[in-house]
């Protein structure tokens, strides 16, 4: 049995890495890109999509009991259903 909170903590670490890489990419794009509408549109689309995914995940997490834990047998069942 693995507590769910461990998965959430791992997700937060990856979210931090994502923020760092995104900030660097956006900074480079806005600093070195030509002054053109597509530069702004692509950056805005990237930010909006990222925010939608993060808010969607957080919204889902808000309704989950994080004290629960994951049974390894259910992971095996998931694996079987995919194969």
């Amino acid at each position: 049995m693995i507590p769910l909170i461990y998965f959430v903590l791992a997700w937060l670490i990856f979210l931090g890495i994502f923020f760092l890489l995104s900030a660097l990419s956006i900074f480079q794009m806005l600093r070195h890109g030509l002054a053109h509408p597509l530069t702004q549109i692509s950056t805005a689309a990237f930010i909006i999509l990222s925010v939608v995914i993060i808010l969607g995940t957080l919204g889902y997490l808000a309704g989950v009991d994080l004290n629960g834990s994951l049974d390894l047998n259910s992971l095996l069942r998931l694996d079987q259903s995919l194969l």
Binding site: W11, F14, H32, L34, T39, F46, R77
Partner: protein, 206 residues
């Protein structure tokens, strides 16, 4: 941001002629494969729903899938954005005085090189391969006098037209450069003449 009205280290009377980029199809190749990758998690979800729908009732497992799926999509769009950035930040700016090549490699590697048009000696265009021939894009190699390495426009649309355009602009710039040089030489000689005349006059005085 780079404003085309204010080019870096702009020269006197410099006017923007055109900005060239790689053909969009060069960016679409990886984009298409990424779209296929993006479909994978959705397809997996559908397979689970058909084969074993009771798994989705397990809250812990559903949470794991939402967290994993979210991360997958986030990093996929970040990868697409960085790939677009790599395409978008590579530009060749042609003005009536020079060619500026700006090349972005990854996040932290950036090369800017420029070439004065009057120094151009040879321009070659090359279209090879099926896709390039069909969509008419390819390479343009610009060579200057006394230099072994080429200045390369990679996978640009209409390379033949670009080569002709650059040769034409180089010819105009060379003529203007010659005129400037002649004017400067002419002025120098004219400046020297009165002094020579004065010296000669003093020698000739009785």
């Amino acid at each position: 941001m780079i404003h085309l009205d204010h080019l870096p280290d702009a020269l006197a009377d410099e006017k923007l002629i055109k900005v060239y980029r790689r053909h969009p199809i060069t960016a679409l190749g990886l984009m298409a494969s990424l779209i296929v990758i993006l479909i994978l998690p959705i397809a997996s979800f559908i397979v689970i729903k058909i084969n074993n729908p009771e798994i989705l009732n397990d809250q812990a497992l559903s949470t794991l899938m939402v967290l994993g799926g979210g991360l997958f999509f986030m990093f996929a769009i970040l990868f697409i954005y960085q790939h677009f950035m790599d395409y978008w930040l590579d530009v060749w700016i042609v003005t009536n005085r020079r060619i500026i090549n700006i090349e972005q490699n990854g996040l932290f590697s950036r090369t800017i090189s420029e070439l004065r048009l009057y120094r151009i000696q040879d321009v070659t265009s090359k279209v090879d391969g099926f896709v390039r021939s069909m969509l008419h894009f390819g390479m343009v190699y610009v060579q200057t006098a006394g230099e072994k390495h080429y200045f390369v426009f990679e996978d640009v649309p209409d390379p033949t037209g670009i080569a002709k355009n650059i040769l034409h602009l180089a010819e105009i710039d060379r003529q203007e450069h010659m005129e400037e040089a002649m004017e400067t030489m002419g002025q120098t000689s004219a400046d020297k003449h009165p002094a020579i005349r004065e010296k000669t006059a003093t020698h000739l005085e009785p």
